[in-house]
Structures are given as C-alpha cells and as structure tokens.
C-alpha cells in the first residue's frame, strides 16, 4: 500500500518543480522591465539582463523623466485612457443590457433582425471597417475623448448584446410578470427587477469590455486627433516609434507605470476577472 502512494508524491513533487520553473518564465519578462527601469539608458543598451550596479543604478530618475518623456505628459495619457475606458464601459453596460432585455422579451421582427446583426458583427474583424469608421467618426465629430465612447458602444455592442440576451433568456418570466401586475412600468421593472438579476453577467461583460477598451490601440489611434489626445497604448507605441533617440531606461519606467495598476487590480479581483474572461470565451 505504501509504495504507490510514495510514487505518486514524487511525481507530484516533480510536477510542482516544473510548474515553478514555468512560472519563472512567465514572470521574468515583467521583472526584466522592472529591473531595467532602474538602470541608465547606456546600461540597458549594453546588457539588458544585468542587475543594476552602483554605477548604473539611477533610482527613480527614469520614472521622473518618463512622466514628461516624448514631449507629451504621461499622466495626460493615463487620464484619457481612464476617462475613455470608464465612460465607454458604463455606456456599453447600460445600453446593451437594456437592448438585450428588449430583444429577449419582445421578440419582434426588428428585435430578431438586430440580434442577428449583432451575431454577424462578432465575426467581422476591425480591419474591415477601420478606414470607413475613421471617416464617419471624423464627420460626426466623434474624434475626441469625450465623444469616442459612442464609437465604442457602436462597435462593441455585438458581443455585449449577445452575452446579455443569452442570460436574460434564462431568467424566469414570472418575476417580471409579478412586477408588471404590481404596477411596475417597463423602465422600473428593468432597473429595479431585471438589472439586479443581471449582476453576474454585468461583471463578466464589464471585465471583458474594460480589458478591450483599456488596451485598445488601433481604434483610438485612428479616430482621435493624435497631436492633442493620446491613450497609454498610443503613448507607448509613440515612444517606440521614435527610437534611435529613445531613452530605454525611461521607456521601461513608462511601461512599468502602465502595467502596475493592471497588476494591482488583477491581484484583488482575479477570481472575477478569470471567471469573466472564461464566460466570454465559452459563449463567444
């Protein structure tokens, strides 16, 4: 009886060791950025893998430099990224959940048409519409951070409506009927009865949309007036684009600053994030 048990535990020790090694492979790239963000530009250039020495260590100088690096304040990019992400995701969650409820409950010809259009939009790659979307956004003055959330609502509606409709269809109709009998109008039924029941899907869709909008590069790059407005991904690509004269240490500091908030949020809500992403994949 003892023998198979001990064989199993050596096996699981080996598996654990393999996983620890793999984890290091996964963490090293990010650690590499962290280490280099404390080194001088010359030191990053000559050997990016070396740990900082007394000579090459510059403390937080790169972070200070990175703030104004590339003639555009980094905090401004952070501000635009935050604003665009928050407003777009709130708009998407609110309006697509309302539409999804309408589609699932009314089931008219138009509702079905809209629903199938949404499904269709999910298989259309962004490159198909990028030039024409840029023209349209320019003409309608949707080319500022204050109005770009409308573009996000439009292009992102497909997946969100698809996920919400799937969930609304699983909700029991009796609850809404009871609300209607008690004298609730549709608006009140939606906001005080349906919306609270949608909470798990709101979280899943919210996480998917936040990850999309926050990290999106091409849409804001094409739509926004880049001389005035940058987001974090545009800022990073802009720094890379001007290489030759680029200060690698400061760039690493900027990258670190853009990763840290994501990792902090991830550590605190990883369960929700992983669940949300998995839900999106299984349904999409």
């Amino acid at each position: 009886m003892m023998k198979p048990k001990s064989r199993y535990s050596t096996l699981s020790t080996i598996v654990t060791v393999v996983f620890i090694a793999l984890c290091l492979v996964w963490i090293v790239p990010v650690l590499e950025v962290l280490v280099n963000s404390f080194k001088t530009n010359a030191a990053v250039n000559t050997n990016a893998f070396a740990l900082p020495t007394a000579e090459s260590f510059v403390g937080f100088d790169n972070y200070v430099k990175g703030m104004t690096f590339g003639n555009y304040p980094f905090l401004k990019s952070v501000g635009f990224s935050l604003f665009i992400t928050v407003v777009s995701v709130v708009l998407i969650l609110l309006f697509t959940s309302m539409s999804a409820w309408y589609i699932a409950r009314v089931n008219s010809g138009f509702a079905k048409f809209f629903y199938y259009l949404c499904l269709f939009s999910m298989i259309v790659p962004f490159q198909m519409v990028m030039f024409t979307l840029t023209f349209t956004a320019d003409q309608l003055k949707l080319n500022t951070p204050w109005t770009i959330p409308i573009v996000y609502l439009g292009f992102g509606a497909g997946l969100a409506i698809f996920m919400f409709v799937g969930f609304v269809k699983s909700l029991p109709l009796e609850i809404e009927e009871a609300a209607a009998i008690d004298g609730c109008g549709p608006v009140r039924t939606f906001f005080s009865v349906v919306l609270p029941m949608l909470k798990p899907t709101l979280i899943s869709v919210g996480i998917l949309e936040v990850m999309w909008v926050w990290n999106d590069y091409l849409l804001p790059y094409l739509v926004l007036d880049r001389t005035k407005y940058m987001t974090i991904p545009i800022h990073v690509q802009y720094l890379k684009g001007s290489y030759g004269s680029v200060d690698l240490g400061a760039t690493m500091a900027v990258i670190m600053l853009s990763i840290i908030p994501i990792i902090i949020v991830y550590i605190f809500c990883q369960k929700h994030i992983i669940k949300g992403v998995a839900a999106g994949a299984v349904k999409g």
């Binding site: 439009g154 009927e177 590069y217 991904p233 690698l248 299984v282």
Partner: protein, 293 residues
Amino acid sequence: MNSVLIRRPIRRWFPLFILPTFACFCIGFVWPFLQGIYLSFCNFNTPRDAKWVGFSNYVKAFSDAGFQHAFWNTAGFAVVSIILINVLAFAIAYGLTQKIRGANLFRTVFFMPNLIGGVVLGYIWSMIFDAILKGYSTYLTANATYGFWGLVILVAWQQIGYMMIIYIAGLQAIPEDLNEAATIDGATRWQTLTNVTIPNMMPSITICTFLTLTNSFKLFDQNLALTGGAPSVIMNGAKVNMTELLALNIYSTYNISKNWHGAAQAKAVVFFLLVAALAIAQLTATRSKEVQA
C-alpha cells in the same frame, strides 16, 4: 417569452431601450461596414471623391506580392501557434487539476499576460529578444525568421494562460466517476487521458482551437509593436515586409499612398471573408466530433 403582459408595455419604450444602442451600432458598425464594401470597388482618397472602378482593386490586391506573402505568413503562424498554444495549455491545465500544491498561484501567474495590452507586450518582448540576440551580435529585425518565431513565443506566452482557463473549466466538468470507472477497469493514467479525458474535452478543444485560429488571423498590435513588419525586401519590384501578417499588411497598404486606398479596402474585404469563413468552417467541423457526456 409570449407574455403579453411584458411585451406590450416594453414596445412602447422602444426609443429608450433600443434606439440609442441601434443608432450607435449603425454609426460604429453597420454604416462603416456597408461603406467599406462599396469603397472596395472605388478609387478614393476620402469617401467624398470615390470613383467606381469595378474589380480592379481586387486584382491589384491579389497581385500584390506583399499581400500574398502576408497570407502565407499568417497561415503558417496560425498553424504553429494553434498547435503550440493548445498542446501546452492543455498540458498545464491537466497538471494543475491533479491536486498539486499552489495550483491557484500558478494559474494566476499564467493568466497574467492577458491583462497587458498587445502594444506593451510587443515592446517588452522586442527588448528581451534584442538583448538575447545581442549575444550573437545580431538583432530582432535583422532576419524574418527571428521575427516569426519571436511573435510565436510572444503570442504563446500571452494566450496559453487564457486557453488554460478554458481547459481547466472543461476538465473540472468531467464527472469524477468516469475516471474512477476507468481506473477500476485497470486503465493506466495515459489510457484514461486518451480514452476518457480527451474525448470528453472536445467542446473545450473546439472553443480553444477556434479562438487561437481567429486570434492568429486577427493579430495586429503585437505584430506592429514587435517588428512592425521589418525586415523588408524587394520582390518583383514591390516592397514586401517579411514579418507582416494580414491585418498589419492591410494597414500598411493604406499608408503607402492614396492610390492604394482602394486596394487596401479590397484587401480588408477579402480578409473579412476569410476570417468569417474560417470561423464558420471550424465551428461546424469540430462540433460534429463532440461527445455528448
């Protein structure tokens, strides 16, 4: 769904519930999509000066050496990354579901790259590859082979964690008694894996293959930030960016000059048809192999 009690009153609120979303959907998707199809048959700088030219943009697009190269590059990249990502993600998921210590921590770490944007990832890895290649006194964009495998490594590093999550969910959904029955019947671990686990995992495998396939075809940010298509060579008198995938090729075609706008849009339509066909074919092909557990 047939409740008149609910349906009738909601219909009156059409302007609130549907109209804003539908209007934005038209601005952000329907109109650009239709206009995109129309413009692929036109010569244009902006949509205002579009002139109908028939299929000549498509002829131009298909005879472009850069587009052909990008197509084969993308196809090769898709095959390599589908196999690599799915095999590794499945292996990791299988290992993590064997009751090992720290499984949650490992899972958290493997998933982490998914939260970082493609542009930032591209930058991080170009720094790392350049630092490694410096030891051999060369650099990432010196050779298209480096760029290709560099992108494979980057995308594998990013997406393995994502597919792993789907595989873990699939593995945990397999009823415990199936494995027990196999063990009682004297099956080895390997036999249980190939005869019980994998057939029951077909739905997850379908989803993950489908996702890695479409992700590879749609890849843009990582491609742009890692190599930007470099290095480029002259082939039949045209400049071909050696590490360019389809999405990036469409984008850079548009930026050549205004004479190429029509061809770029034609490429975009071809690209859309390709992605849509792949998505539909893949789903129908693998769905038929699923086991009803």
